[in-house]
């Protein structure tokens, strides 16, 4: 319960590049030294809307890749879906514009000390943190397979890059416009079995994470997932981003997904808790 990311810094980050890729924008920010401190799974929080913005809260984005170029130079790359006011503002920023950015925030994916067989599962822009994770895992000698799912082909981020960086890439789309027609959870059991997967890493919508947890639990394998609950501050001071998580003693507590997450052990999260506090939660 005390996992504040001590590396977090607030910086003025200059936009180095902003390119439309399918339904997303790939954006690169010059953040200086903090790039070196970012781990796969960490996220950034960015102020949106400029000087007279009516949007008072930061927006969180998973770090797609962090590149330390040494001598205090460092880049952070994000994959942003233009959705509402904040993300539309961000994606409409130009090169050289400066944004107020805090990073790195939150927990990172746990990296096994042994070379294991890992399956990385991403939904929509949830694939973002998986490419960096894949590099780290491969450097540790792990075999990495990947599944990317989305509603349609344009929302599969970076399929080519995905293909290059992993042993096998499976794609699913809800409308069948690319890969297998269906959800990532439809192909998961088979992939776990056929590749003898030891651990599943995932990032994407909460419903997808819940479904993956069920499968991983059934298979008795670890599942580390990056959750996404609405965040007002991203730094642990507002208590808006909580989700119910069972601790080692079996007590369910409402934990902040920005501090105790976003990466959590899927098996500990009480998934079936939308709009209600699970029974037995501490203090309920």
């Amino acid at each position: 319960m005390n996992k504040i990311n001590r590396n977090a810094r607030q910086v003025s980050a200059q936009i180095v590049s902003n390119k439309k890729v399918g339904a997303y924008h790939h954006m690169v920010f010059n953040v200086g030294e903090i790039a070196a401190l970012c781990k796969p799974g960490n996220f950034v929080a960015i102020s949106v809307g400029g000087e007279n913005s009516s949007m008072v809260l930061r927006r969180a984005f998973a770090i797609y890749r962090a590149v330390d170029r040494g001598a205090g130079n460092g880049l952070i790359e994000l994959v942003v879906a233009p959705h509402g006011g904040g993300s539309r503002w961000l994606t409409s920023c130009g090169v050289d514009d400066v944004v107020d950015l805090i990073a790195p925030l939150g927990t990172a994916f746990g990296i096994p000390s042994e070379p294991v067989r890992a399956l990385l599962v991403g939904g929509g822009y949830g694939s973002a943190p998986l490419f960096g994770l894949s590099e780290v895992l491969k450097a540790r000698g792990c075999r990495v397979d990947m599944v990317l799912g989305a509603s349609s082909a344009a929302k599969i981020y970076a399929p080519l890059e995905g293909k290059r960086s992993v042993s096998s890439l499976t794609i699913t789309t809800d409308d069948g416009s690319a890969g297998v027609l269906g959800k990532v959870s439809d192909v998961l059991t088979d992939l776990i079995d056929s590749n003898s997967i030891d651990i599943v890493y995932s990032c994407g919508p909460m419903g997808m994470l819940a479904a993956i947890t069920e499968i991983a639990n059934a298979k008795g394998i670890m599942h580390q997932c990056a959750v996404e609950e609405s965040m007002a501050c991203g730094i642990g001071v507002c208590m808006t981003c909580v989700i119910p998580v069972r601790d080692s003693s079996g007590v369910i507590k409402m934990l902040r997904s920005c501090i105790d997450g976003p990466v959590m052990d899927g098996a500990n999260v009480i998934w079936d808790s939308k709009r209600k506090i699970p029974e037995g939660t501490w203090g309920a």
Binding site: I4, Q10, V56, L57, A232, C233, G236, S273, I277, G283
Partner: protein
């Protein structure tokens, strides 16, 4: 002459008038990595209740134009764990501490005050009476002069000693200065104005209230004019009662508005979510503004907007 930025609320003295707002600064630890807590006039802790509390289900927040709704529902570990963990840590940092307490019954307030009476290292007690009273159909204590008085009297009787009591009021009343008068006569040394304004957002995708708790508290710049008005009204009626002002303060200019209206200190809440160093920005900008306008002390500026034309 050097500028005097110090202030006091009841018996409690503070080096500077910029505080965090209750519920908007976590346990203090989360902000401490952005600046030393000793820079603050005081840390106001999130309202603590007698027992551990899960708070409300999610979604707990919705952004609104120049503001936000929250329905945290006072999540917290309960007073005992709080006094065991959070307070000693804050003391170890050298922070000035204002502890905020909240109850669901008059008796809760009495219990909380008794727990607090023997605690050292605390500067003042903020009594959040803007919470639902389970003994009175969930009506908020501060919405009714009778229950507002009862809660503050319970604290006064049980707190003993010198710990100043700051009663925190809701703006969701017909006449906030009448409630202010009532709690002052019940024993509050000073007042905290304002808590959030009751609001709702409906999600036009799901066609239901966005928050799981349906309604939530509106905060941020959107409510600043309401805060300024409430502070102005209460200061006009009770000019000798010190006010801790809050509501939509994001910069020094905003804080100055609250001070000119009658606040002796200012809490920064929602602005911290958008900018973790907002409190520091408010503090330095406010001091510069006061000096630039020729004030010799913060105190001279308090309520200055009330002078005759």
């Amino acid at each position: 002459m050097t500028f005097d930025f110090s202030t006091s609320l009841g018996q409690a003295r503070f080096d500077n008038p910029i505080f965090t707002a209750s519920g908007c600064a976590g346990s203090g630890k989360e902000l401490a990595q952005f600046f030393p807590l000793t820079e603050l006039g005081a840390v106001v802790t999130k309202s603590i209740m007698v027992k551990a509390r899960s708070g409300r289900a999610t979604p707990r927040m919705a952004e609104t134009p120049s503001g936000m709704l929250n329905s945290i529902g006072l999540q917290g570990p309960g007073i005992d764990i709080f006094l065991e963990n959070d307070v000693p840590w804050l003391i170890s940092q050298g922070a000035k501490i204002v502890v905020s307490i909240a109850g669901e019954s008059v008796d809760d307030y009495a219990v909380l005050a008794r727990k607090m009476r023997s605690v050292s290292g605390i500067s003042a007690l903020e009594v959040n009476i803007s919470c639902p009273n389970v003994e009175n159909r969930g009506q908020v204590f501060a919405c009714d002069p009778v229950t507002a008085r009862a809660a503050i009297e319970a604290v006064r009787r049980n707190i003993g000693g010198e710990l100043p009591i700051i009663a925190k009021l809701t703006p969701d009343v017909t006449d906030i200065s009448a409630i202010a008068e009532e709690v002052v006569s019940a024993g509050a040394d000073s007042l905290a104005l304002i808590n959030t304004v009751l609001g709702m957002v409906i999600d036009t995708e799901t066609l239901r209230p966005r928050l799981a708790g349906k309604t939530g508290g509106l905060s941020g710049p959107a409510i600043r004019p309401i805060a300024v008005r409430a502070i102005y009204q209460v200061h006009a009626r009770l000019p000798h009662v010190r006010i801790l002002g809050m509501g939509g303060v994001t910069n020094g200019n905003d804080a100055l508005q609250l001070i000119l209206a009658g606040a002796s200190a200012v809490s920064v809440g929602t602005a911290t979510f958008g900018n973790p160093t907002a409190v520091m920005k408010v503090k330095s900008e406010l001091q510069n503004l006061l000096v630039a306008k020729g004030f010799n002390s913060l105190h001279e500026a308090v309520g200055y907007a009330h002078r005759a034309e």
